[in-house]
């Protein structure tokens, strides 16, 4: 890294080198059996530089000659955008816990045992279920060095379990599944098998629904899959700067139900989305986006913040190229209504667990429309079975303006979203 930085600073005014070195070992299951063990090692080095006031960028996976990387970045800087920010001075920062050496000590046998225990438990509940999934351990080191001086790095471990089950029954296909992820080892198979069995029980029978407008409960999976993409886009400082966010003029005003509060929080210990600093070296912090229905702020990286007269909120994230604003870990504040009480309150309605195709609509505008991949019918206060061949449509901004209740059942979905169930009074349902 030092060699690249020194070479870049010779031909450019300033530069920054970012490197990720990772190693991951997933153990994969297919058709209820162990299928494959993998080891994946990778190193990516990215160089950002400022030459004649313009930004250039290049990156390499694997071995790269420092001069070649610098030349590639200089090539792009000829017409890169005008630099409007400076690279921060970097200080060592270990304020957020993301590393647990115990992850690296989990053996392959332990991982195989964990996956097998989940499969045994769910297949014991429902014969004929076919599971596929993985148990994975990994560690990554993130390093950043800048021509402004300083060097910072942190290490993050990850332990993830994902298991999906498929049940073919009378020409119907039922999908259930769960994902858990942490910076620490997960050892109890019930964390996953318990959730899968809950889904299996609720979907045991089929139930029908007619077209109309009904009360709908989005479970934590339903919220994460159907309602969040529009918000992630609307709070992005870049969408706001472009004038394409429906919330661009709503800062300080009530755009959501007073029960709704939302934040991005990379500082929670041992969460997979946590880090002491972002991919530009800016210290991580909890950012409140919505407080009791009011829009508080948007999220920024260095470049977007500079363009719009703000400061970086520590949301510079690299998704394969240059940093741009992205969320780390979204948290929707939990409420005090149990899922059981929500269900009891509904005469006729549905629960949405998985909505397929929800993200294919006009995300900018908040419109969504999807096929209920996993959902349950509620009749007279209890669940009667699974609904299918049904579409649900709506607009996220309209739904979140009037919320009947927020659940007390908050959980992490895949480690990057923490949300309770949300009960909406009226959602459009189309069925054949």
């Amino acid at each position: 890294m030092d060699e690249i930085l020194a070479a870049a600073c010779k031909s450019a005014q300033s530069a920054e080198v970012f490197r990720v070195t990772s190693s991951r070992t997933p153990v994969q299951f297919e058709a209820n059996r162990l299928k494959q063990i993998q080891t994946k090692d990778a190193t990516t080095t990215a160089l950002r530089l400022i030459k004649d006031g313009r930004v250039g960028f290049a990156q390499a996976s694997g071995r790269i000659n420092a001069a070649e990387l610098v030349n590639m970045a200089l090539d792009t800087s000829q017409f890169g955008f005008q630099s409007d920010f400076t690279f921060p001075y970097l200080q060592p920062n270990n304020a957020v816990k993301t590393y647990d050496p115990a992850v690296e000590n989990v053996t392959i046998d332990d991982m195989v045992g964990l996956g097998s225990a989940i499969i045994d438990a769910v297949c014991h509940n429902t014969a004929g279920l076919l599971c596929e999934g993985s148990v994975s351990r990994g560690a990554a080191t993130f390093e950043i060095a800048s021509g402004e001086g300083g060097h910072a790095s942190y290490k993050r471990t990850n332990f993830s379990i994902s298991m999906d089950g498929m049940l073919v029954r009378d020409g119907d296909i039922l999908y259930i599944g769960d994902v858990q992820s942490s910076c620490r080892p997960i050892s109890d198979h019930k964390a996953i098998s318990g959730e899968i069995i809950r889904q299996l029980e609720l979907a045991r029978e089929n139930a029908a629904i007619r077209s109309g407008t009904f009360p709908v409960i989005f479970t934590p999976y339903g919220v994460a899959g159907a309602l969040l993409s529009p918000l992630i886009s609307a709070f992005n400082g870049k969408t706001v700067l472009d004038g394409a966010s429906p919330l661009k003029d709503k800062k300080g005003s009530a755009a959501f139900d007073v029960k709704f509060s939302l934040s991005d929080d990379p500082t929670i210990a041992y969460q997979p989305g946590s880090s002491p600093f972002d991919d530009e070296g800016v210290a991580a912090r909890r950012n409140t986006l919505v407080y009791r229905g009011k829009v508080v702020q948007f999220y920024y990286d260095l470049h977007t913040a500079a363009l719009s007269g703000n400061s970086s909120t520590g949301n510079g994230v690299r998704g394969g190229g240059m940093p741009s604003p992205a969320i780390h870990a979204l948290v929707i504040e939990g409420g005090d209504t149990s899922l059981t009480d929500m269900i009891k309150d509904i005469k006729e309605g549905i629960i949405i667990e998985q909505l397929m195709g929800a993200e294919q609509g006009n995300i900018l505008n908040g419109d969504f429309s999807g096929n209920v991949l996993l959902g349950y019918k509620i009749e007279n206060g209890s669940v009667t079975g699974r609904v299918k061949d049904t579409m649900v449509s709506g607009n996220v901004y309209q739904l979140l303006k009037e919320i009947s209740a927020i659940g007390s059942d908050s959980r992490w979905i895949g480690g990057y979203v923490n949300t309770p169930s949300i009960y909406c009074p009226a959602v459009s349902v189309s069925a054949k």
Partner: protein, 452 residues
């Protein structure tokens, strides 16, 4: 390199081992509104080893090509920990071949500033259109060389140049935001992204027009799909279901997908094949060294074949079809589509819409996904059909259906096959894989449309 690879493959106890090495160079340009947000170049080298022992697989990926033999040993060791039965893997003639990258106007020879100027022209057209609030443009090209060596003696070098361009025009008025996109891809011809000025103007005007378009009312309709959207439909609704890795170890799925089952009327033929030259899903050998093929998934309405890797073919007692593909060296090959299309029929567009009292004409795509049984795909552009005529434009719609009934509801197939190169396919974390898909216009009865 050849000797080094075969040396590394020697002396291990495994039923099959392959090593795949990859070198790539790529460039990327991203615009948001008036701002060039990213101009970047990247280079990569890496590789992977996959080993099969007694039915179990080991896979190791890496960036450093040092100590290849140790990496092979690790993959074999991992496979041994998994393998408890017997390996089933279709035999193959070990091919030795060098296939250079195909190109017409090579994007690698076009300087970055020239690429940038073209995008800048398109961007000005969009930003100069009334009610357009902002735009987004992403261009990327990649040149790759992939080398495959197997313990059976195959040694295949294949080059590939792929490029894609995605433009979105975003219109805004009174708090409403609407967008229309255009997606173009090509296997090695930069000309595909040149001279698009008229199309670009058209998407900007349509985005603005959507601001005053009504929503379609949700429900079941007779739907006519244009070739682009019908291509997405065939990919989502049937292509994925034809991938044998969803079927081979699932007894109930094998029953549902038994060869000879009738899915549709005699007019329906669905094909997948990488041998059709020049498309984004085209190649000479797949990532297991199987020569590319052309497979009839549905012939005259009947399920006739499916897409295989060497493992799924062996386990189902069928022939490999050359559909084992890996997006890059960090993943093992899995069963994927290549170029997937509905063969043309004889109905003209005018005949197709005549007689529809109330229906939806859906064009162009936003996206699509499938659960195998159910699928959704979203149109980029939609109109109501009233009394046999195209009527008012409506907001983009999402369509959904059940595979086992929808194919049989296709009651007319057009004579105007067109292939779409702009898509990318995602499966098992490997996305976007270059594929193409296509169809003539088709008409589907009783298709569920989401709406208010």
């Amino acid at each position: 390199m050849k000797d080094r690879l075969f040396d590394a493959l020697k002396g291990h106890q495994a039923d099959y081992i392959e090593v795949r090495l990859e070198e790539s160079k790529s460039s990327r340009l991203v615009y948001r509104g008036e701002r060039l947000e990213e101009a970047g170049r990247s280079a990569g080298t890496g590789g992977c080893v996959r080993a099969l022992v007694r039915g179990g697989w080991g896979f190791v990926s890496f960036n450093s090509l040092d100590n290849l033999s140790e990496k092979v040993a690790l993959a074999v060791e991992q496979a041994r920990q998994v393998g408890k039965g017997e390996s089933q893997f279709s035999p193959a003639v070990p091919m030795v071949d060098k296939v250079p990258a195909e190109f017409k106007k090579n994007p690698m020879d076009v300087p970055l500033p020239t690429k940038n100027n073209i995008l800048d022209e398109y961007n000005r057209i969009m930003l100069g259109t009334k009610d357009i609030q902002t735009t987004s443009i992403g261009y990327a090209d990649i040149k790759k060389k992939v080398t495959l060596a197997t313990s059976e003696g195959a040694y295949i070098e294949q080059g590939r140049i792929d490029l894609n361009l995605r433009l979105s025009a975003i219109a805004s008025k009174d708090g409403d935001v609407q967008q229309v996109g255009l997606s173009i891809g090509s296997k090695g011809d930069f000309a595909a992204v040149e001279n698009l000025h008229e199309k670009v103007q058209d998407i900007a005007r349509r985005a603005a027009a959507l601001l005053s378009a009504p929503h379609a009312k949700g429900g079941a309709y007779t739907v006519v799909l244009d070739p682009v959207l019908a291509g997405v439909f065939v990919h989502e609704a049937f292509g994925h279901l034809s991938e044998a890795d969803h079927i081979y170890e699932n007894p109930q799925m094998r029953e549902l997908m038994v060869l000879g089952r009738r899915f549709a009327g005699k007019h329906l033929n669905i094909v997948d094949g990488a041998t059709v030259p020049g498309y984004r899903g085209s190649f000479k050998y797949d990532d297991e060294g199987t020569p590319a093929g052309k497979t009839y998934l549905i012939k005259e309405g009947v399920l006739t074949s499916r897409l295989h890797s060497r493992e799924t073919a062996a386990k189902m007692g069928e022939q490999p079809t050359g559909n084992a593909r890996a997006i890059n060296y960090t993943h093992p090959p899995i069963v994927r589509m290549t170029n997937t299309y509905i063969e043309p029929g004889s109905t003209s567009f005018a005949e197709m819409i005549s007689g529809i009292k109330e229906g939806v004409y859906a064009k162009d795509w936003y996206g699509g996904t499938t659960s195998l049984e159910m699928f959704t795909f979203s149109a980029g552009e939609a109109y109501m059909i009233r009394d046999g005529e195209i009527a008012e434009m409506v907001r983009p719609v999402v369509l959904t259906g059940n595979v086992f009934t929808t194919l049989d509801n296709i009651d007319a197939i057009g004579n105007d096959l067109d292939m779409n190169q702009g898509g990318g396919c995602g499966k098992a974390g490997q996305s976007p894989l270059p594929v193409s898909n296509g169809s003539p216009h088709i008409r589907i009865q009783n298709c569920l449309v989401g709406g208010k």
